[in-house]
Every structure is written in structure tokens, then in C-alpha cells.
């Protein structure tokens, strides 16, 4: 392979990206060297197994990916604003919507949620870390390396262009001969390892590491939603793993699972993809539901209405979400019986979802509501998500779906559920738990500006798309003619898209601004909140809890505060040494080897993939013979820390 085939050439946008990547790298290296921060970076962050730090790294990576995916989105909007535009050519447009979709779901939504889960859930259940801290680091680093592998595709070798769903035969070797599709397969495969490990890790953590006094039916709703999410992850992700592996075999080793010829079944890919894909949309929405529950209950100053109904509706969703996948390809024409069956299951799943909406409304009812930024995001979520859900039920009718399928109507539906569900939740959760992570709040004034601009932009951008879809505009087209009559709504959509971009930039600026100017927290409980994570002092010590807290019911911390008001202060017990896991460099090194192996497979440089895999195996062996059993935090250190922290 020649060098000019290795690097993507010929497009000014790509050269721009090359330059900015190089500049960012040089800048980062310079700053780290100048301030002598390399050692600090390695010992404090890159080798950490602390769930709070891993959570923060997840969130930073997710925000970066949101930026990348957002730039992709604005490029698409720029292209579609006017008819017959020649800003992007067809292939470039295909690449951009493919990377946009993949990045937003796999490398933005999931890590953002998993990041918040990492930070919050162990604190909510009174644990000092997750069940498998080392594995947690492996999760993060495999996700990160998978994401990086996917992201370099657009400067090295070329991006995938067959859509985030990668339907064959389009994604097969004949129609997608370049390395782009390989990046998709390997990037997702490596990141998927991390997700599956997270699923196992948090399932065990939530079931086994709770403070003994916390019963299952007393867990905070975010913890419950995380638990259900982990169950879905554990059952859904292996399907993706297998499907990706089979397509990788098809493309790299000449097998015929999904090919048109030699007995392959192209539609089997779509089938397997959506067996994972539909549960996946619930993986990214359930934690969001959990966060809204916490935030709404905190700022309405009431316990959550209908706790049990919430839990059971999620359990039902966990079962049903595996029974609806065919609604993504009704138009394959599997026949009346199949389509009717999956039509009905799809409509059924809207029921538990609707139950939850009513629960939030009743929680708000007669509450003393405080309109913080986190609460605003949660309030805006309810009506916007209802729009997404109702149009989802419209799509669920198989006969009608023949009209809606692959039009902008569908695009509007899934953005209404994904943005006003998942993305609003990520922002709400970020504002809400920011003081737990960084010991200061995000500025509320800037926060509200960003909120209003983003929400207005979102509705301006995506509501018109319903009508574009009804007017017949297909999704995934790179341009249209003046005679189609789609221009005015597209202009509106682009305008909304720009507003969302501005809202996001204000949020990023807010992070910088608050870092500089926000007062530091003096208590661990800035919002007068209800669950155990707020009982930790500010900043949260690395061992989380000097004494394990006691959970006496729902909203355990609220109960503690009430008891304190009645003068029932808990007696002071002496500290005991706390056992904590040691940091380790193995996870990041192992993941770098995964990256090398993946990169080798992308280019079919088998020597390189074998070297990479040997490296992976070697790091695993090293880990197996590692008898480090962690260390004890001494009583003196605990006393020192507890004196410094404010409570």
C-alpha cells in the first residue's frame, strides 16, 4: 500500500482535520511537558482504578465524541440546507452520516451514561468501589481504544460509509471494498468488550456491594435503572459481538455468512443487528429515565411517585425489548403474521414507558419545584419525549411503516427519543452531579442560556423533519432538487441545528467558566438532595465512606437528615483501616495492544494483528500472576482526610 492510499488525501476538510489533530497533539504534549505533568497523568489518571476518576474520563471522552459527532451533524445540515448543493459529494456525505450515527450511539451516548453510572452508582449504594475495579479500568480503556480506532479512519485509510446499521450487501466486500468498513467492525468489537465487562461489573456491584441495610426495593431509581440496563447489556451485546465477528470473517477471510452468493443470507445481518439494536436503544434510555427520576424527585422535594410501578415497568421493558426487533425491517416483507406479531409487541412496550411518564408527572404534582438547570432539562424532557414516543407508536404499525420507513419521519422519531431522552439526561445529570465530581457547581446563568438555546434549536431542527418525511423526503440522501419542495423546512432545520451547536458551545464554555469562577463547595449536599451519594463530604475521599452509611428506607440520606433535625445524631464510632485496590498500568497497556491488533486487522496486516494479540495475551498472563491484594488506608489518613473535608 502506498502512502497516499494510507492517508486520506484530496479533500480540504480532511487536510483541515489533519492539521487540527496534529496541533492538538503537539499542544497537549507541550503543556504536559512544560508543566511537568506526565508523571501525574500516569499515576493519577491513566493507571487509576477509582470508579470516580474512570467516570470522569468516560465523560470527558464522551463530550469530545459529542463534539466530533456534532461537527458531522452540522456538515450534513450545511449540505442539505439548499437544493442541489455541492458542498459535499455523495460519498463524503455517506461517510459523514455513518460516522455520525455510530459515534453518537456507541461512543457518545453509552460512555456518557456509563461515566455517570460509574461516578454515581457506587456512591448511591454506599460502596467504596465497584466489585471489580481492575476490570472497570479495562472497560474504560477498551472503550477508549475502540473509539480512537474508529475515529482515525477518516484521516487514515478512509471512513466507513454503509450507515451505522451497516446493512449488507452494501457493507460487503464488493460494494465497500476499502478499509472503512473494517474500522467499523474492529472499533465496535473492541469497544464492545468494554461495554460487556461494564455490564457484568455493575450487575455484581449493585447486587453484592450495597450496604447491607439497603434492600433491593429501597435502591435509588438511578441504581435500579442501571441494574436493568446491565442485564440488557449482558444479553444484547454478545449478539453484536457475534454479528460483527461473522461480518469480519466475511470481509477478511472469505466466509459467506451474509454474502449474496454461496448460501449467505444478507438479511440475517439486519436481523442480528436489530436483535442487539433494539435492546441497545433501551440501554441508552433506561439510565436516562433513572436520572430524570432522581432529579425530578430532588427538585420537586418529594419522594418519587409510584416507585414500584417504575421498577416493574423497567423489568417488563427488559423482557419486551428483546421481542420487538423486527419493527426495524417490516419492509423486508417477512409476511403478515411476523409483522403483526412484532407490531403488537412494539405497541406493548410503549405501555410501561407511558407508565413512567405518569409517575414523573405525579411526582411533580404539588411539589415545591425549584427550577435549576438540571430540573429544566428534566422538565423539557417530558413533552419532547412524548412526541418521540407517540410517533414511535405510529411507526409501530407495520402497514403504516411502509410509508414512514426510511423517510425523515423516522429520523425525527429517533432524534426525539434519543436527544430529548438520552442527551437531555446526560446534560441534566452533568449539572446535577457536577459538584460531586469537581467540587464546584456549573454556573446556573450560563446553564440556562445553554438550555433554552439548545432546546429551542432541537425542536426547530427536528420537528420540521416529521413533515419532511410526510412530504416524502427519504433519509440518507445527499441532495435533492428544487422541484421537490423541501427547501424551506430544511432551512429551518439547519437553523435549529446551528442553535443546538451554540447551546453546546455555551455548555463547554460553562465548564471552563465554572472551573475559574464558581465558588468551591462547602458541603457535600448542594441541592438538598435525597440519596446516599450526597452524604459524602466535599471533595469525596478516594475511599468514599469513612463509615459505611446506613440505609433506613427510600431516600436514605433524606431520612438521615430528618433524624438529624430531630436531634438523633449518629454516634461517633472509631475509624477502622479501609481496604482499597491498587492502581495498575495493565489495563491501558492491554488496550493499546487491542488497538494494535485491531489496526492490523483493518489493513489485513496479519503480522501486526498477531503481535497485538500476543501483547493482549501477555498482559493477561501478567495480570493472572499479579498477587497484589490492594492496600489499607490507615486510620491516621482517614482522620486527616475527614478533618479536611467539610460536612
Amino acid at each position: 500500500m502506498k502512502l497516499d492510499e494510507f492517508f486520506v488525501t484530496g479533500d480540504p476538510l480532511i487536510y483541515g482535520a489533519d492539521v487540527s489533530i496534529a496541533l492538538t497533539l503537539i499542544g497537549a504534549i507541550f503543556v504536559l511537558t512544560y508543566f511537568k505533568k506526565w508523571k501525574w497523568l500516569w499515576t493519577e489518571w491513566l493507571t487509576t482504578v477509582d470508579h470516580k476518576k474512570l467516570g470522569v474520563m468516560y465523560i470527558i471522552a464522551a463530550v469530545l465524541m459529542l463534539f466530533r459527532g456534532g461537527v458531522d451533524a452540522l456538515l450534513m445540515r450545511a449540505q442539505l440546507t439548499v437544493p442541489d448543493s455541492s458542498f459535499l459529494d455523495a460519498n463524503h456525505y455517506n461517510e459523514i452520516f455513518t460516522t455520525h450515527g455510530t459515534i453518537m450511539i456507541i461512543f457518545m451516548a453509552m460512555p456518557f451514561l456509563i461515566g455517570l453510572i460509574n461516578v454515581v452508582v457506587p456512591l448511591q449504594i454506599g460502596a467504596r468501589d465497584v466489585a471489580y475495579p481492575f476490570l472497570n479500568a479495562v472497560s474504560f480503556w477498551t472503550f477508549f481504544m475502540g473509539a480512537m480506532l474508529f475515529n482515525i479512519s477518516f484521516v487514515i485509510g478512509g471512513s466507513p460509509s454503509a450507515g451505522w446499521t451497516s446493512y449488507v450487501p452494501l457493507a460487503g466486500l464488493e460494494l465497500s471494498p476499502g478499509v472503512g468498513q473494517n474500522y467499523y467492525l474492529l472499533g465496535l468489537q473492541i469497544a464492545g468488550i468494554g461495554t460487556l465487562l461494564t455490564g457484568i461489573n455493575f450487575l455484581v456491584t449493585i447486587l453484592k456491594m450495597r450496604v447491607p441495610s439497603m434492600k433491593l426495593m429501597q435502591m435509588p431509581m438511578f441504581t435500579w435503572s442501571s441494574l436493568i440496563t446491565m442485564v440488557i447489556i449482558i444479553f444484547a451485546f454478545p449478539v453484536l459481538t457475534v454479528a460483527l465477528a461473522l461480518m469480519t470473517f466475511d470481509r477478511l477471510f472469505g466466509s459467506h455468512f451474509f454474502t449474496m452468493m454461496d448460501g449467505g443470507m444478507p438479511m440475517l445481518w439486519a436481523n442480528l443487528f436489530w436483535i442487539w439494536g433494539h435492546p441497545e436503544v433501551y440501554i441508552v434510555i433506561l439510565p436516562a429515565f433513572g436520572m430524570f427520576s432522581e432529579i425530578i424527585s430532588t427538585f420537586a422535594r418529594k419522594t418519587l411517585f409510584g416507585y414500584k410501578a417504575m421498577v416493574y415497568s423497567m423489568v417488563v421493558i427488559a423482557g419486551l425489548s428483546f421481542l420487538v426487533w423486527v419493527h426495524h425491517f417490516f419492509t423486508m416483507g417477512a409476511g403478515g403474521a411476523v409483522n403483526s406479531f412484532f407490531s403488537i409487541t412494539t405497541m406493548l412496550i410503549a405501555v410501561p414507558t407511558g407508565v413512567k411518564i405518569f409517575n414523573w408527572l405525579f411526582t411533580l404534582y404539588k411539589g415545591r419545584i425549584r427550577f435549576t438547570t438540571a430540573m429544566l432539562w428534566s422538565l423539557a424532557f417530558i413533552p419532547n419525549f412524548v412526541i418521540g414516543g407517540v410517533t414511535g407508536v405510529m411507526l409501530a404499525m407495520a402497514a403504516a411503516d411502509y410509508q414512514y420507513h426510511n423517510t425523515y419521519f423516522l429520523v425525527a422519531h429517533f432524534h426525539y427519543v434519543l436527544i430529548s431522552g438520552t442527551v437531555y439526561a446526560c446534560f441534566a445529570g452533568l449539572y446535577f452531579w457536577y459538584p460531586k465530581m469537581f467540587n464546584h457547581r456549573l454556573n446556573e446563568r450560563l446553564g440556562k442560556w445553554s438550555f433554552w438555546i439548545f432546546v429551542a434549536g432541537f425542536n426547530l431542527c427536528f420537528f420540521p423533519m416529521y413533515f419532511l418525511g410526510l412530504a416524502g423526503m427519504p433519509r440518507r440522501i445527499y441532495t435533492y432538487g428544487i422541484g421537490d419542495g423541501w427547501m424551506s423546512l430544511n432551512v429551518l432545520a439547519t437553523f435549529g441545528g446551528v442553535l443546538m451547536g451554540i447551546g453546546f458551545l455555551i455548555l463547554v464554555y460553562n465548564i471552563y467558566y465554572s472551573f475559574r469562577y464558581s465558588p468551591r463547595e462547602t458541603t457535600g449536599d448542594p441541592w438538598d438532595a435525597r440519596t446516599l451519594e450526597w452524604s459524602t463530604p466535599a471533595p469525596v475521599p478516594h475511599y468514599n465512606f469513612a463509615h459505611l452509611p446506613e440505609a433506613k428506607g427510600h431516600d436514605a440520606f433524606w431520612i438521615m437528615k430528618e433524624e438529624k433535625k430531630q436531634g438523633k445524631a449518629p454516634e461517633k464510632k472509631p475509624y477502622k483501616p479501609i481496604h482499597m485496590p491498587s492502581y495498575s498500568g495493565v489495563p491501558i497497556i492491554m488496550s493499546v495492544f487491542f488497538f494494535i491488533a485491531g489496526f492490523g486487522m483493518v489493513f489485513s496486516w496479519h503480522w501486526m494483528s498477531i503481535l497485538g494479540l500476543i501483547g493482549v495475551l501477555a498482559t493477561m498472563v501478567i495480570r493472572s500472576f499479579d498477587y497484589d491484594k490492594g492496600f489499607y488506608v490507615s486510620v491516621e489518613e482517614i482522620e486527616e482526610t475527614e478533618k479536611k473535608t467539610t460536612l
Partner: protein, 107 residues
Amino acid sequence: MSNNEQTNSHSHFPWSHLIGFGLSIVLTLLALWVGFASDFSFRTIMIIVVILALIQAAIQLLMFMHITESDSSRIQVGTILYAVFIAAAIVAGTIWVMSFGMHNMNM
């Protein structure tokens, strides 16, 4: 239940893991051989491969997933029922979806 305390039950050599690992590899190679190099009919090959897969699943559950060593059987039974339900839904569903109506399509 002690938070964060590692139990020390793994001080002995992990024989069951090693045996399970070895058996899994052998079974996989066997399946490959049956698929690529044997002269059985297509039908027989399919049957053998499925049986080998089921054996391997059982081995994994026993040797790695410690299916027999739980203290709370309620959770255990629950997860197994759920797993069986999902597996059945996926496999039966896929066969149904992928074959239904396909005779109209010259397949």
C-alpha cells in the same frame, strides 16, 4: 457482606478453569474438523455441531460460571429462566422471521 474484601478462596490451583478451557478448545477444534474435513452429510454435520455447541455451553456454565455455587437460589433461577427465555426468543424468532414468507422470494 464485607465491602471490598477479596475472599481468599482462590489460593488453590484453578484446575476446573484449566480443564474447562482445554475442553472448550478441543470441542471447538472438533466442530471445525467436522465442518471442514469430515465426509458426513450436511444434516449430520449440523446435528453434530449443535450437540457440540450445547456440550460446550454446559461446560462453560459449570466450569466458569459456577452455576452450582450460589448462595441465593432465587436470583440464580431467575437469571437462568430469563436467559433461557431470551435465547429461545432470539433463536426461534430468527428462524421464524428469516423463513416466513421467503418462499415468495425464490429462496
